[in-house]
């Protein structure tokens, strides 16, 4: 587990060194979320109905934008290959990096989402579910996104290619994430959605780091 420890603390310190990046992700999230009312009109009923879905799509896009920072700079300055040659298994330190990445992108999005929910006039219990769904969903986005980011290391077409690879994999997370908040807003129970998200998180947390590891080995080959 020591691999997870040094990778987590290393990446967290790096994230603290220039918080601008995390701020940008948050700013993007708020900006895109406030574009929708300008586009679809400010009718409260409509906004409340589309609120959960819109906020989830914006959170998903914001999380996606944070992905390149995971491996790109380490790949460029050679620290990624040093990590690959470290004493710890690749899946361990990769998990540490993804956890640190989630802490600086996914978690802030989750904490900010109730505010945006208010902007869309969501009822209080829907805000809670929205937050819970994002809390369980954003780590899965970081995990799946990390696999795609590792696959596109050193590839032409950068951001667009990463979007083409990652967004289709995000579909189930979006469906159950947005579905949870909508269910609460409609007075139904959101527990099936949340439990599926939780199951997805557990499975992803255990299996995806190995896929990321082999993607990194391919990138360093």
């Amino acid at each position: 587990m020591s691999g997870l420890a040094w990778a987590f603390s290393r990446d967290l310190t790096l994230a603290w060194r220039h918080p601008g990046e995390a701020m940008l992700t948050l700013a993007f999230f708020v900006l895109v979320a406030s574009l929708f009312p300008l586009g679809i009109g400010a009718d409260p009923q409509l906004l409340a109905r589309v609120g959960p879905g819109v906020i989830w799509v914006c959170a998903l896009l914001a999380a996606f934008l944070g992905l390149p920072s995971l491996f790109a700079s380490d790949h460029a300055d050679g620290t990624l290959e040093q990590m690959a040659l470290s004493a710890d298994p690749i899946a361990a330190w990769v998990s540490g990096k993804i956890a640190a990445h989630w802490l600086s992108t996914g978690l802030p999005l989750t904490l900010l989402s109730p505010l945006l929910g208010l902007q869309y006039g969501l009822p209080a219990d829907a805000l809670v579910t929205l937050g819970a769904a994002l809390l369980l969903g954003t780590p899965v986005l970081s995990l799946l996104g990390a696999a795609c980011a590792a696959l596109t290391l050193g590839a032409r077409g950068g951001g667009m290619l990463l979007a083409l690879l990652a967004l289709p994999l995000f579909v189930p997370v979006l469906v159950f994430g947005a579905g949870a908040a909508e269910a609460t807003a409609a007075g139904l129970s959101a527990s099936p959605h949340l439990s599926l998200l939780g199951a997805g998180l557990l499975v992803a947390a255990v299996s995806v780091p190995f896929a990321v590891g082999s993607a990194i080995r391919i990138a360093l080959d």
């Binding site: 310190t13 790096l14 460029a76 300055d77 050679g78 040093q82 040659l85 470290s86 330190w93 080959d221």
Partner: protein
């Protein structure tokens, strides 16, 4: 303590359609150093990366005993970290927990003592290379794989590298070095020549 050893048997690697080298075999026993020489593009870096286990060769087998330290073209240094932090992270990655004194001693030895708090971004290429030298002073890996270690080093930088290499070999370590320069070592190194 079993003897550190490196055995490479009929190694082959290609870059795209072109074959870099074929049927390459050599062995390094404890205390031995091999210099890999050859013109640019002859596959020196690929050979080193194969031995380090980063690149998968098309054919052939590599047997290593013990941990290895790889220093490639890329510096392996974060610009946002200062010299001390870079050194700490590099050693922690290798499962080593050096004390404050050891870190300072190593940085002093390579002449970075005064600049250990400066972010690596503001260090010169030569100074950044010295962070790797400090790692060589502290790391206990038995096999060193160095790609052009003399690049960007000035005269006394080379002297420090020579001392570190000598001490490493005396303590039964192995070294595989790709370089165009003469190695700052008293004894001659075995030569592995790669044709273009």
């Amino acid at each position: 303590m079993n003897e550190a050893r490196l055995a490479v048997r009929s190694l082959a690697a290609t870059r795209g359609p072109a074959t870099l080298f074929r049927e390459l075999s050599f062995e390094l026993a404890a205390g031995e150093i091999a210099a890999v020489r050859g013109p640019n593009g002859s596959g020196k870096t690929t050979l080193l990366r194969c031995v380090a286990g980063l690149t998968r060769p098309d054919h052939g087998e590599i047997q290593r005993s013990g941990a290895l330290l790889f220093s490639g073209h890329l510096p392996g240094i974060k610009d946002d970290f200062n010299a001390e932090e870079n050194l700490c992270v590099a050693l922690r990655m290798r499962g080593l927990q050096p004390g404050e004194a050891a870190i300072h001693g190593a940085l002093a030895r390579v002449g970075l003592e005064s600049r250990r708090r400066v972010p690596a971004r503001r260090l010169s290429a030569g100074q950044r290379r010295r962070i790797t030298l400090a790692r060589l002073a502290l790391d206990d890996a038995k096999l060193w794989i160095l790609d052009e270690p003399l690049a960007a080093l000035d005269a006394d930088g080379e002297a420090v590298l020579g001392q570190l290499l000598a001490r490493h070999l005396e303590s039964g370590g192995l070294a595989l070095v790709a370089t165009h320069h003469d190695l700052p070592l008293a004894r001659a190194a075995r030569e592995i020549r790669l044709q273009p």
